[in-house]
Symmetry: C2
Subunit: 242 residues, 2 copies
């Protein structure tokens, strides 16, 4: 099965949570919008699907994944589908719902990170909402960031297997996503993270463990891994990092 991932070609964004899962699993996939438009791919292929008439399951926004006769949108939903197929999904229904719950909380955190630089409108530039961004980011680093990290630290510690992973005794998409969140937070808010990180040794251990996985390490060192930038979700604006 060759998976076709559709996501913006120049940013990590929400697509990166799917890329990390596909990479860790060494799954057969094409990152469609990063391929050549001359070959019928590239951004035009993404836009065609996004705007197509007559689609049975029209997506609201990238990322979306084509898998056989399915077209699946919403990052957490894509990972819910992919997980068990690529060896990254918990085996029991009980653990699958727990992993998905954590994945959805990651999604909430990511949306809040986005809104630190776009608290008014995603259609406006950061420069057009900077005073509001300063206020929102201050609340985020002071209150929301520690609250989320505390939750994930607690979740990992609550795992009865004491495996070091979030769910059961094996790595799941939620672990990879939490790794990515920590990477992104360190990029966007280095000062705030340096302050709060030491409080969450379990998350740091998990982050290091994911980074050391051979396929993840190879991916991160490859040109397939796009850099963080001020076009993505995790943006480093020093004035927001308090």
């Amino acid at each position: 099965m060759r998976y076709q991932l559709y996501y913006w070609p120049s940013i990590q964004g929400r697509g990166e949570f799917v890329r990390l899962a596909l990479e860790d699993a060494a799954a057969d996939y094409v990152d469609v919008a990063r391929m050549s438009a001359d070959d019928g791919m590239g951004v035009p292929a993404l836009m065609r699907l996004l705007e197509a008439e007559g689609l049975e399951h029209p997506p609201f926004a990238p990322p979306f994944l084509k898998a056989a006769d399915m077209l699946i949108g919403q990052t957490a939903n894509i990972l819910l589908y992919l997980g068990p197929r690529i060896g990254l999904g918990p085996k029991t229904e009980r653990d699958r719902h727990w992993a998905h719950q954590l994945q959805l909380t990651v999604a909430d955190l990511v949306a809040e990170v986005h809104d630190t630089h776009h608290p008014i409108a995603s259609g406006l530039y950061y420069e057009d909402q900077k005073p509001e961004a300063l206020r929102r980011a201050a609340d985020f680093t002071r209150n929301r960031l520690p609250k989320y990290l505390r939750h994930f630290e607690r979740a990992r510690a609550a795992n009865g297997f004491h495996s070091g992973y979030l769910v059961g005794n094996a790595l799941s998409c939620a672990d990879l996503s939490l790794f990515q969140v920590i990477e992104g937070l360190r990029y966007a808010f280095p000062q705030a993270m340096a302050r709060v990180e030491p409080t969450f040794p379990g998350l740091l251990e998990l982050h290091a463990r994911v980074a050391a996985r051979p396929r993840i390490a190879a991916y991160l060192a490859s040109p397939r891994r796009l850099p963080f930038s001020e076009e993505g979700i995790f943006r480093h604006y020093p004035e927001l990092d308090r």
Copy 2:
């Protein structure tokens, strides 16, 4: 199976999406925090679970659902679990992922509605972020609201069964949730909704169809249905309704 729903007792909020599903299915459930603290329930029971040490699957925030040996959080995740058990889940995996995708897009919309009155910090009062709320709400009613409703109208029209429901040929949790969103939007933004609603006849038909379901009609007329208010997610502040 008696389900135990944990949610704030005085608002519809995110818990209402779960209540509507349980009510439509005539499921056996207890709305724990609305029962008496003298009987070991009420808000104290909710807070105990929210703050308990040693929980295997600690929730981040209400709502959460107890079902046999499971404790499930995140609204969309609760509905993903409940749907097939109470006759509101699509039968095929393909349709289940599509219904869940729509449910997650409803969740995104609800989060944006919340942020129209709390664009800076959920821990501050509306009055402390009113200038920002005016800007954010203006963008919401002008851009985001029509974009979301257009998506759901398109999704309903794309259903190959032409059943009038969002997914397949039967009602699912996504239909009930979209009904609730339209109710909430009409409460919070009556002027903006009066302007955009006529553009989405399919959603209006779906809304009317859900409202006419006997158990939903009975629920809406009962004291179990809490009123909308300025404590919930959908709040009517006339100055934000442009």
